[in-house]
């Protein structure tokens, strides 16, 4: 009885090993079709990122160099890491009234964890996530970005 079990052990062991080898062997033979590698820098032209991908925070400007940010600092308050800093100034309106507007929208990419809370908090949809993801730079200071373009102003009709 011992001998029978012994031989059974050996045979079933060999069978299980052969099953595993069958799987890897199949993949070795079909490697052209089955490979999953993406050759990243080469496939840059065809690389499509989903529209919701959180790459970095950007502020879209329209053709008149106008943005939608009122400087309400809702994003600054929503941010858990103090990634956003809004510096405001007072614009003199044509009618002589002073109006609060952003001077600088400072965005620290190096602190950002891409949690999307600022985008959610923004009441005027002035900021959104861009699909860029190659953020490496040689100098850390390059990661501190000012999102509003120079000379830009708030779009008419946004309060």
């Amino acid at each position: 009885m011992f001998l029978v079990n012994y031989i059974k052990d050996v045979l079933s062991g060999i069978k299980s090993l052969a099953t595993g080898m069958k799987v890897t062997g199949w993949y070795a033979l079909h490697h052209r079709k089955e490979k999953i590698t993406q050759q990243y820098p080469d496939n840059k032209d065809t690389l499509v990122l989903p529209e919701r991908f959180r790459g970095e925070v950007v502020m879209p400007h329209d053709e008149h160099n106008e943005h939608a940010c009122t400087g309400c600092t809702a994003c600054e308050l929503a941010c858990p890491n103090a990634t956003i800093k809004i510096v405001t100034k007072f614009d003199i309106q044509p009618d002589g009234k002073k109006k609060k507007a952003i001077d600088k929208f400072v965005y620290h990419l190096e602190l950002c964890t891409f949690c999307n809370l600022c985008i959610e908090a923004c009441p005027t949809d002035a900021i959104k996530m861009a699909q860029t993801f190659e953020h490496s730079v040689f100098d850390r200071t390059n990661l501190t970005k000012i999102l509003n373009k120079p000379g830009s102003k708030i779009r008419e009709g946004i309060e």
């Binding site: 079933s12 062991g13 299980s16 090993l17 099953t19 595993g20 069958k22 799987v23 890897t24 999953i36 990122l49 989903p50 919701r52 991908f53 959180r54 809702a74 929503a78 941010c79 858990p80 964890t113 891409f114 949690c115 999307n116 809370l117 959610e120 908090a121 996530m129």
Partner: protein, 380 residues
């Protein structure tokens, strides 16, 4: 800092054997600790006499950090604890805040949350399968597991915007509705994974070398599993029924058809089988829900600034590794007064010494692989 003499003198280690014992440091940089875990093991030849985990290499004081963050903000930090079940961690925190604020989560959001949880669980178990096989010495399963995990990550990326630390769940529901492609891609994944999970079994489960490496290794009895506070597949492999989804159902789990997987072996093989079967159960949950997402809002109306009423709140969820508990003490302000997370990895790790004693170094690696340690979850 530890000194060798102190370790030797501790109770249970026995008298130091000057000629026979060898103390060896596994970690903080070691390929099979999956992070910066430091194990001081006392060896007699190759036989392990004692395992002593040293923690703190990746301690970021997340609990303290959360005290300075508002009730909307602290949720994202919890994704950085057990980064492989980040959705489920976020879910637990959201449940706790919702309990305090008495927010009713819309039905659609509930289903989406459960779907995301189960997909995360699948992704986590796939990574565990690949990485565990790699620890035991088979390198190919890792890449096969990543093929399926990549599909889930792509689904997550499309809907949530990120691949690993999503921050998709917010108090009151989920951040945005699922992507229009979501259902199609999940169907595609289910179809693909159903064939591949059988291939997983062919490649590894039945393999005689693998069976020998895990069978009877790292035995943990039912009593010990309870007394060490083990949860998740580690405890269920010892026959402890501890699935929070069944015992304290949250969201729509009470309406779903699924089994709590338990094995009575108590060894590494049992823990392995529990996880493999759990993958099939998760797949069946996803299948049940994917065509039945109710219409409606994905987020309840909440105030911009959440203020939890004064009091203490606790909620728990089942992550891929076990029970994750969130305990919030609120003084009525916008930030929590105190937060405590009960992470599954910490308790499971505490049983490591018990399981590994008397085994070989190879056994220790197999045990660690089958507990599925995630070090940031242990250290927080």
């Amino acid at each position: 800092m530890y000194r060798e003499t102190e370790i030797l003198k501790q109770p249970g280690a026995g008298e130091p054997d000057v000629f026979g014992d060898m103390i060896i440091n596994i970690g903080p940089q070691h390929p099979s600790t999956h992070g910066v875990l430091h194990l001081v093991i006392t060896l007699n030849g190759e036989t392990i006499k004692k395992v002593e985990p040293h923690l703190g290499y990746i301690h970021r004081s997340i609990e303290k950090m959360c005290e300075s963050l508002s009730f909307r903000q602290f949720i994202y930090v919890t994704s950085k604890m057990d980064y492989l079940s980040s959705h489920i961690n976020n879910h637990g925190c959201c449940l706790c805040v919702e309990k305090g604020m008495q927010i009713e989560v819309p039905a659609r959001a509930q289903v989406i949350r459960v779907l995301m949880d189960e997909l995360t669980r699948l992704a986590s178990h796939q990574l565990w399968w690949g990485a565990g096989a790699m620890d035991i010495g088979a390198l190919t399963p890792f890449f096969h597991a990543f093929r399926e995990r990549e599909m889930i990550n792509d689904i997550m990326e499309e809907t949530c915007g990120t691949r690993l630390t999503m921050n998709y769940m917010v108090p009151g529901g989920v951040m945005v509705d699922v992507h229009p492609n979501f259902q199609g891609r999940v169907h595609e994944f289910i179809k693909h994974f159903k064939t591949k999970i059988d291939e997983y079994d062919e490649l590894l489960t039945g393999n005689v070398i693998f069976q020998n490496r895990v069978k009877g290794v790292g035995y943990l009895s039912k009593e010990d599993a309870i007394s060490y506070g083990c949860t998740g597949p580690t405890a269920r492999g010892s026959g402890v029924s501890c699935d929070i989804r069944k015992l304290y159902p949250y969201e729509v789990y009470s309406k779903l058809q699924f089994d709590e997987v338990t094995e009575t072996g108590g060894d590494c093989l049992a823990r392995y089988l529990v996880r493999m079967k759990e993958m099939r159960q998760s797949l069946s949950i996803v299948e049940q829900l994917i065509d039945n997402i109710p219409e409606g809002d994905v987020q309840a109306k909440t105030k911009a600034v959440l203020k939890l009423p004064k009091g203490e709140y606790f909620s728990r969820v089942e992550t891929a590794r076990g029970e994750f508990g969130v305990y919030i003490v609120s003084e009525g302000g916008t930030t929590p007064y105190r937060i405590k997370f009960r992470s599954p990895g910490y308790s499971n790790l505490s049983a490591l010494d018990h399981m590994a004693r008397g085994g070989k170094i190879g056994d220790l690696v197999a045990i660690m692989a089958m507990i599925d340690l995630v070090i940031p979850d242990i250290d927080r």
